[in-house]
């Protein structure tokens, strides 16, 4: 019984980490779908979110909920500004130029944080103070409960937004055929801005949940979850929204089980090996669609 309980607890841990990855992966996949680029600065939006939350809570002593709202707004705005300044002028440029620019933006954000907050890690106690509960002998931490609830709500809202609203419809149209969408009167620039705003807002939510788990601020804290979420997006099929959700959860669970039962040091290697195997079997990712070019 205790072994099953232990496995269940590890699964829950995996779901918690995985749902954070999924939130971040959604940003990668949405931006890829619409702008056909990998926004490598996306992970650093998480870092900016974590620092913004710290400034609001610890330095300005704002109410945590207000602080979270400000964090989301700051990140959404930052995403839009990055797109306008760094990526928009490169719309017609070769993909390599855009990729390098994205990496450049990532370093810029990290180094700005380094300049402002210095390299010393800053301890930052979790703002999520929910007591843990026991369900049938399984210990579930408050943070896990909050993370799962918040990510589920975010994903439902995102799905509704994309499938049921005008802006969401415009996003789907632009991601399928930018030229045709434009000729049907869809404002492509505005649609791309909305995509970056929504993706970055989700990264901000992920940042709040992530920092509540790790409780230490570092300018590079976004790098690892960023890259793992990117792996999750590719695993699920980049460009696919359900794929990003699924990829994130699978990645989190594998990581958590590998840490607990195989080796902490090897867990990342195992996670990346899974990606390699999946891509060998299904190059377009789990839920990705193979594009057949008609000649």
């Amino acid at each position: 019984m205790s072994l099953i309980n232990a496995i269940l607890e590890q699964l829950l841990n995996g779901l918690r980490t995985g749902s954070i990855y999924a939130l971040i992966a959604l940003g990668y996949t949405m931006v890829y779908g619409i702008a056909k680029m990998i926004n490598f600065a996306h992970g650093d939006i998480i870092m900016v979110g974590a620092y913004t939350l710290y400034v609001c809570v610890s330095l300005l002593h704002l109410h945590p909920i207000l602080a979270v709202v400000i964090t989301i707004l700051v990140c959404a705005l930052l995403g839009v500004v990055i797109e306008k300044i760094a990526y928009k002028p490169l719309r017609q440029a070769p993909p390599l130029a855009v990729l390098i620019t994205a990496i450049g933006v990532s370093y810029l954000l990290q180094n700005l944080a380094l300049l402002i907050f210095k390299a010393t890690p800053i301890p930052f106690a979790s703002i999520i103070k929910v007591p843990s509960i026991k369900i049938g002998g399984v210990h579930v931490s408050g943070l896990t409960i909050v993370t799962l609830i918040v990510t589920t709500i975010s994903m439902i809202l995102l799905t509704l937004f994309i499938n049921k609203t005008k802006a969401g419809r415009a996003m789907r149209a632009v991601s399928e055929d930018k030229g045709a969408a434009e000729l049907m009167g869809v404002n492509v620039n505005q649609t791309i801005s909305i995509t970056f705003a929504v993706g970055s807002a989700l990264a901000a939510v992920a940042g709040v949940l992530f920092i509540a788990q790790y409780e230490t601020l570092l300018p590079t804290l976004g790098a690892l979850p960023g890259i793992k979420a990117f792996v999750a997006a590719v695993l699920g099929g980049i460009g696919s929204i359900p794929g990003a959700m699924l990829g994130g959860l699978i990645l989190g669970i594998i990581e958590s089980l590998a840490k607990a039962y195989i080796s902490t040091q090897l867990s990342d290697a195992i996670v990346f090996s899974v990606l390699v195997i999946v891509l060998l079997v299904k190059p377009s990712g789990l839920l990705g669609k193979m594009k057949i070019e008609k000649v």
């Binding site: 005008k166 419809r169 789907r172 399928e176 030229g179 045709a180 049907m184 009167g185 909305i194």
Partner: protein
């Protein structure tokens, strides 16, 4: 009936290639005009200039007295020009209904906050869009396919949906790029009926590119002929199709 579209001396160069040169067209409100010519004559290039995909290197395009040169495709669409494509470009992963609703983007508006918060206006506007889209689909007898994925429609119906989507932008001028391409004689016949229907149901002027001479001579009131980017002839279908220069351009000596 006034003049809707006035194209004067329209030309475009790609590097050293003069794709279209000195094109003049005057299209009256409510007319159905054909743009014909051999392959590579510059017909689609002309459409691309009219819709803002390409910016012409010289010449003017006036729609209802307003210049379209230099405007973006989305702006030109708002001015009242809509089009279909030679190779169908539907939003294939979206439903038939959503394809039309995407084209209603500018006619029925609500802001982002309304979408996020699902305010009452959201439901009202979405309902209005649904009704408007279904009304258009019904005219094309596509309403029973509203929830079908656009890619699952048969070829002829995909063509129809593309026209329906273009009409959803509420255009003054509808550009059809080879609407009968790839159609069998029955489908072509049906298309001709559809075009008649469009003229009856929507107050729209139509300019179409077509290779099917039966269709062109059957429905067009006036023709412009392009060859090697320049205007070869224009006139009524019987004048143009009996013009020896046009016959020569199509069939050779």
């Amino acid at each position: 009936m006034g003049v809707l579209l006035e194209v004067k001396n329209l030309g475009i160069s790609f590097g050293g290639l003069r794709a279209v040169d000195g094109l003049n067209m005057t299209i009256n409100e409510g007319a159905l005009v054909g743009l014909i010519g051999p392959n590579g004559a510059g017909k689609t290039t002309a459409f691309n200039m009219l819709t803002g995909v390409y910016r012409p290197t010289d010449g003017t395009i006036m729609l209802d007295g307003k210049s379209l040169v230099g405007k973006k495709p989305a702006e030109i669409c708002q001015e009242g020009v809509a089009r279909t494509f030679q190779n169908i470009r539907l939003f294939t992963q979206m439903s038939v209904l959503d394809n039309v609703k995407a084209a209603l983007h500018n006619s029925i508006k609500y802001n982002l906050a309304t979408s996020f918060l699902h305010l009452p206006a959201y439901f009202a506007k979405e309902k209005e869009m649904d009704e408007e889209a279904l009304k258009i689909l019904k005219i094309f007898e596509l309403d029973s396919f509203a929830d079908t994925n656009a890619s699952n429609l048969p070829y002829g119906k995909q063509r129809k949906l593309e026209i329906a989507r273009a009409l959803a932008t509420n255009p003054k001028l509808l550009l059809l790029d080879e609407p009968a391409a790839g159609m069998n004689p029955n489908e072509t016949k049906e298309l001709m009926d559809t075009i008649e229907l469009i003229r009856k149901e929507f107050k729209v002027t139509i300019l179409l590119i077509e290779h099917d001479m039966k269709l062109v001579s059957g429905i067009c009131e006036y023709l412009y002929v392009l060859n090697f980017g320049t205007e070869l002839a224009h006139g009524t279908p019987s004048e143009v199709l009996n013009d020896p220069r046009v016959v020569k351009a199509y069939l050779g000596e």
